[in-house]
Amino acid sequence: MTIVPIVVAAPLLTAALIALAGKWLPHVVADAAGLAVTGLSLALASVLLARTSARLITYWFGGWRPRAGSFPVGIGWAVDRLGAGFALLVTCLLFAALAYSWRTMTEEHYLFVALLIVFGAAMAGFVLSGDIFNMFVFFELMSVAAFVLTAYQAEEASPLQGAFNFAVSNTLGAFLVLTGIALLYGRTGRLNLAAIGQTLTNQGRHDGLVAAAFALITCGFLVKAALVPFHFWLADAHATAPAPVCVLFSGVMVEVGIFAVARIYWTVFDGVLGEFQSPIRDVLLGVGVVTAVLGAVMAGAQRHLKRLLAYSTIAHAGCFMIGVALLTPDALGGVAAYIVAHAFAKGALFLCGGVLLTRFGEVDELLLHGSGRALPVSAIAWFAGALALASPPFLGTFTGHALIDDTASTMGYWWVPVVLAFATIGSTAAIVRAGLRVYAGAGDPDDPLLADEPGEAPPPQERASLGLMQAIALVLALAGLGVGAWTGLATRAVEAAYTFTDRISYAAVVLDHRALPPPPPETWHTTAASVAWAVVTLVGSAAVGAASVYRNRFPEPLTRALGAALAPLHAVHSGNIGDYVAWLVLGTGIVGGLLAVSVHGVL
């Protein structure tokens, strides 16, 4: 299918052309070219999504399509429904980000547009790829573009080291991945995902090498997914990066890390490590739970709106990981639906933050107290986004939550819905609290639990397109709410997840050109329990959020105790790259060690 490479190649070519000629062209041409090619990618990704309903589309670069059963010497892509859907989500958000930054008047704006397009194309390429080294290449391309997008036109003079910390953490993550790839290559002599998986399964050796490769690749991708203790870079990077870039960071880049863990597990390791599913599940669940809880707690203690949203993303990333860790297609389908709703809603919230920054030159919750009343459209978008993230019955992230909750409950993990509810209430309440203060002027402009030092912010910019920016935020927020209302999404996501997790069929299609067996027909039913949990999270988010604006009226012993509990957490998030790398190493050691021990016993 010839459109497969065009989804990625057309934007990359356009980016190069913009860099080539942008200096001599008016800004509007670069913007228009960017939007046009992103629109093209969006259309092509939609076509791919439509055509992958009952099959897996393979594409071999350089014409190196192997004969059935023979060795693949080239690079192959295998486009399945989840991959195509993810690529579509990336192009949607990229389109919104480009439209939002339309006609930004800076001298080098054309390079910014070019890099934004490269960033999107790299993520699309990563999720469609079926070759492990090719994935690494796109992973690095995505990272390099992301590093510069963080630092360029930094919206805060300090702390600029956020971009540096981000770059170092993610580069080290990529080394872990590459080391794992090298180990797999040494064992199997293959780079195609399906071929590696098949060979590992046939060899049937689950020794230290397989354990280490699995641990290294997983931990490397967990850095991108911002799971504890690999998450430190995320808040710094989000605080520094411009709002439209944050939309992509929170909406899809973090989720690329989650996607990668799932992709690698299901294509490469599921066969050889299949009998160790239960301990692997426990380790990954543990990581997810810690992340979800920590993100929710930290979100409650931020006054910098973009940091607050960043910690909310960490909380949700933990929930995504919990869904993936269950290692079943139903939960994975839930994660997919969840990611879509979260991406739109969180994108809307970041854009609202960007509007505030443009209008007032400030994103500090307490300093902005009441100023948001001048921006009613933003206010609606903000609360619509918050509502979508609160997992209300039949809206927003509800379908995803419900699928994960139901699957976990039937598997005996009764506590998973509790953790998801805690993470949702904690992170959403913080968003509601900030919204009430900023847009409604509610409560007190003083809060004992928020870190005291506001970030330094640039002066407000004069931008004619404030209306357009708010409109885009509103559209994204409504889209976030709407995807939850569409129950067909959940059904299709689960069907797609069945294909995604079917290692044997994947290998048969890629290596032997067989046809894909149809996934079992799914009809998704809401259970009473999931609706009950949705009511709990909705009411809980609203109540806790509303109560939080009056935190300085809480009894003093309580606030002091809470403050004392938060102090070590603040101390750990030091902004020092040396600390971050130390945690990264410890995390790799612990997660890797636990995985290795569960696979082949004590050393």
């Binding site: 080294f133 290449v137 690095e140 390099v144 590093f147 510069v148 630092a151 930094a154 003079a157 300090s158 702390p159 600029l160 080291q161 971009a163 540096f164 770059a167 170092v168 580069t171 080290l172 080394f175 590459l178 080391t179 090298a182 290559y185 040494g186 780079l191 030092e453 030091s574 902004g575 020092n576 790259i577 040396g578 600390d579 790398v581 130390a582 190493v585």
Partner: protein, 114 residues
């Protein structure tokens, strides 16, 4: 003895990590990141090596000759380009931090943040 080159790669990776964590200068730290990355070159090339094999260049040797793996060498080439590109970018980021904070010491910079 037969895994010595692999252990060399592990050693270099760990040494680079120590350098990163203990570094007091962002430029120094960037070089330590490159050290970590050079561990991956060594690992890849060591995996593809064959005793008594020659380089996979058939200009002067017959194609039947035993050669080492060309694929890992190609992967290493890509890896090297990535390393240089990332280093140049990291240094530019370090310069920007220096411009904003007037210091290259990660501890000093972090203190400013509070």
């Amino acid at each position: 003895m037969t895994i010595l080159p692999y252990l060399l790669a592990v050693w270099i990776f760990l040494v680079g990590l120590v350098g990163i964590v203990t570094s007091r200068n962002l430029i120094h730290l960037t070089v330590c990141v490159s050290i970590c990355q050079s561990a991956t070159y060594i690992l890849l090339l060591a995996i593809g090596y064959k005793s008594h094999g020659t380089a996979p260049v058939f200009a002067d040797i017959p194609t039947s000759r035993k050669v080492v793996d060309p694929v890992v060498q190609s992967l290493t080439l890509t890896d090297i380009v990535v390393a240089v590109a990332v280093s140049a970018l990291l240094l530019a980021l370090a310069l920007k931090v220096f411009e904003a904070e007037g210091s290259l010491d990660p501890a000093e910079i972090a203190e400013l943040k509070g």
